[in-house]
């Protein structure tokens, strides 16, 4: 009896500590957002005056800063937004299409060269994109694909990390489904699109968020490829507000909040699918 009481007390204390640790990190995680949000309400000079502060002062804070997004250079911010969305959708949709196909093929079928190709996928995952930058750029110049959304999306069309992930996920699916589909008269492609894909929805969910996240925050490659101001994505656009001679804080902060809020909302809505997908996909890792 005494042992159990002691054990429960100990457990309670550990639970307290564990939860406490989580709370501390949760504060760390959310602090920058709180700061971003508070600063977006103040005029730029306030932010400089007080540095990192989390106050919302009634007289000074207001949503009027957000209007700067409309007036700054005739509302170019919204062009950036549109660009970012277009690129994100393009990159994610095409990436999902090809990534799932290849991952599925590697997992479902036993064919010659299967291991070789998977090894290639792994190797490719280990190559830093940055070293491909310059030759890819020269290639785009020669094929006149610069300043073009497709040029931006090109290196991401068949994402290795998606192939890897879909393969892991599909390895956990029953192969009998394929046989059953064939018996019913479907081509293998039919089986893939009509039977397998619906089962793979959690995986698609997970990859959508990861791909969307990568694309939304991608700076280097889009900056190199795009040259028209209206086609800039949000990261590039915000980069123009940061010069060696001073930053346009009035646009930067509201712009950052506007850029992150929709993503957070999408994430919160889709997270059940997302986490289920990631979990299942890593099972047979």
């Amino acid at each position: 009896m005494k042992m159990k009481k002691h054990f429960n007390k100990r457990k309670a204390m550990l639970s307290f500590l564990a939860t406490g640790l989580m709370i501390i990190w949760a504060c760390v995680a959310m602090l920058p957002f709180a700061f971003m949000f508070c600063s977006s309400l103040k005029p730029g000079e306030e932010m400089l005056r007080k540095g990192l502060s989390l106050t919302i002062e009634p007289g000074v804070s207001s949503f009027s800063n957000y209007n700067a997004l409309n007036t700054y250079r005739d509302g170019i911010y919204w062009h950036w937004y549109k660009s970012s969305v277009i690129i994100m959708v393009l990159q994610t949709v095409i990436g999902l299409f090809f990534g799932s196909m290849v991952g599925y093929g590697l997992a479902m079928y036993n064919f010659k060269g299967r291991n070789l190709i998977f090894t290639l996928v792994l190797i490719v995952m280990m190559i830093p994109f940055e070293i491909l930058l310059l030759p890819l750029y020269r290639m785009l110049i020669r094929t006149k694909m610069t300043d073009n959304y497709f040029g931006v999306v090109l290196p991401y069309l068949v994402p290795p990390f998606m192939i890897f992930f879909f393969r892991q996920y599909v390895l956990g699916l029953p192969k009998e489904l394929l046989e059953a589909g064939r018996i019913d008269g479907c081509t293998d492609y039919g089986v893939f699109f009509r039977i397998m894909v619906p089962i793979m929805i959690p995986a698609f969910g997970a990859m959508t968020i990861l791909s969307g996240m990568n694309s939304w925050n991608n700076l280097l490659w889009p900056m190199i490829v795009l040259s028209s101001n209206e086609k800039f994505t949000i990261p590039i656009g915000m980069g123009t507000t940061i010069t060696p001679y001073g930053n346009a804080y009035d646009v930067l902060m509201p712009g950052a909040v506007m850029a992150v809020v929709p993503i957070i909302i999408i994430y919160l809505c889709a997270q059940k699918t997302f986490i289920a997908g990631l979990t299942a996909g890593s099972v047979k890792g």
Partner: protein, 424 residues
């Protein structure tokens, strides 16, 4: 019949005129810049150019890029011969990169020479090569001292009594003792503390024919002076490393330092980012070096250039001349951008005295002070290796001096050697 003919003719004439007017498609120009503020001046000058019926209508597509990105895209466009803009802002530290080999920028002697005597030509020499001018700056960038009179008065010092750098150092000691605050800050990651002082003292990083001057005695003496102020606490490293850091603005605004030496264009940093100092800041000439030197130096800037291969070369040049070399354009570099115009004639004009946020902040005597400096501003040597020299100053010289505590002689030697290595 005659009447009918007359009517028809008039109609035809009118139609002809209408179609001619309607047909006038504006000439399209592209302009690249990395500093969004400049576009405010350009837009204004585009509008007033178009307002004049004698001018062919133009439409300028202004593209703003991140700093590094713009310069690299420009290099690429000029190299490949495709996609270059008509007009482009090139920062002074990068300009020399575009004066190498086969220069792709158009020479603008034809718009500059006629009014040479009205301009501060040392600004133009920064963007020139072999007697040809390639870029026009919007300002002189004369270096001045910004004094926080509230702190100085608390220490019993009148800023107008400070004439030499030795006076300055002595005043600094008094200020430190009586208020506990440093007299000034030196940048540790940028060049606006070291280069102006060196240049004002008579030194520079390179000679026009590419010899390294970084280790000359004048440089060593300047660095030694700066170090002596660091050693006794009258100068400290700028918070955040440079005078455009958020931390620096915050601290300076809170009254942490008694003064700062920066080029004239720094005026709007105070008004925009340090509003609490309104009415307390005064501008004054830089102190003088007792062993010779100049009254000031000209620093920073952007050379606006025209690309040689532009399809609308003449119009581009003409508009640029109008925007930056006309009386009106020069006045507007003050009224819109808060810069010190390159045309000396402008300084007496009544438009320059109209109340604006700068006079409100600093008082009315800004230009009276500035005019005294204009006759003694040295050239800076913007040769082919200036960008490399500038990088070395920003990343190693400033850092070693302010953070590393290295002595002046060693710094000058090692940086000079590094520059020589690059030149090989």
């Amino acid at each position: 019949m005659k009447k009918l003919l007359a009517v028809l003719l008039t109609l035809a004439l009118m139609l002809g005129m209408c179609s001619a007017l309607a047909e006038e498609e504006p000439i399209k120009l592209t302009l690249w810049t990395f500093q969004e503020l400049h576009t405010q001046l350009y837009k204004e000058m585009e509008a007033s150019w178009n307002a004049n019926p004698d001018n062919p209508k133009i439409e300028i597509d202004m593209q703003v890029y991140p700093y590094d990105d713009m310069h690299s895209k420009l290099t690429l466009a000029l190299q490949s011969g495709e996609g270059a803009p008509d007009i482009v802002d090139i920062e002074i530290n990068q300009f020399a990169n575009y004066l190498k080999g086969d220069i792709q920028l158009a020479d603008i002697n034809d718009i500059v020479e006629p009014i040479k005597d009205k301009l501060v030509m040392s600004r133009f020499n920064n963007y020139a090569k072999d007697g040809k001018y390639y870029g026009i700056d919007h300002h002189i960038g004369a270096c001045i001292m910004f004094y926080n009179t509230e702190i100085l008065e608390a220490a019993g010092i009148n800023y107008q009594d400070i004439k030499t750098w030795d006076d300055y150092h002595e005043a600094g000691k008094v200020v430190l003792e009586k208020t506990g605050k440093p007299m000034c800050t030196w940048e540790s990651t940028d060049c606006w503390s070291i280069y102006p002082l060196v240049n004002q003292h008579g030194g520079d990083w390179l000679t026009p024919d590419g010899q390294v001057r970084m280790d000359e005695p004048v440089v060593v003496n300047t660095l030694a002076f700066m170090k002596s102020m660091l050693d006794d606490g009258t100068a400290v490293g700028a918070p955040g490393g440079f005078h455009h850091a958020e931390e620096y603005y915050g601290e300076m605004n809170g009254g942490a330092f008694a003064s700062v030496s920066m080029p004239f264009w720094y005026l709007n940093r105070f008004t925009d980012y340090m509003p609490d100092l309104s009415g307390k800041m005064k501008v004054a000439p830089m102190p003088l070096w007792s062993d010779g030197g100049h009254k000031s130096a000209q620093m920073g800037g952007t050379g606006t250039a025209v690309v040689k291969t532009s399809a609308n070369l003449d119009i581009a040049k003409q508009w640029l001349a109008y925007a930056t070399l006309s009386f009106e354009g020069c006045v507007k570099t003050w009224t819109i951008l808060g810069f010190d115009p390159i045309m000396t004639e402008v300084y007496g004009a009544p438009e320059m005295k109209e109340p604006n946020k700068f006079f409100d902040y600093y008082g009315d005597d800004i230009f009276d002070m500035l005019k005294t400096l204009l006759d003694d501003i040295p050239d800076t040597c913007i040769s082919e290796y200036f960008p490399a020299a500038s990088d070395i100053v920003k990343q190693h010289m400033a850092y070693d001096l302010v953070i590393g505590g290295v002595d002046a002689e060693t710094i000058a030697q090692s940086c000079a050697q590094e520059l020589r290595d690059v030149i090989e």
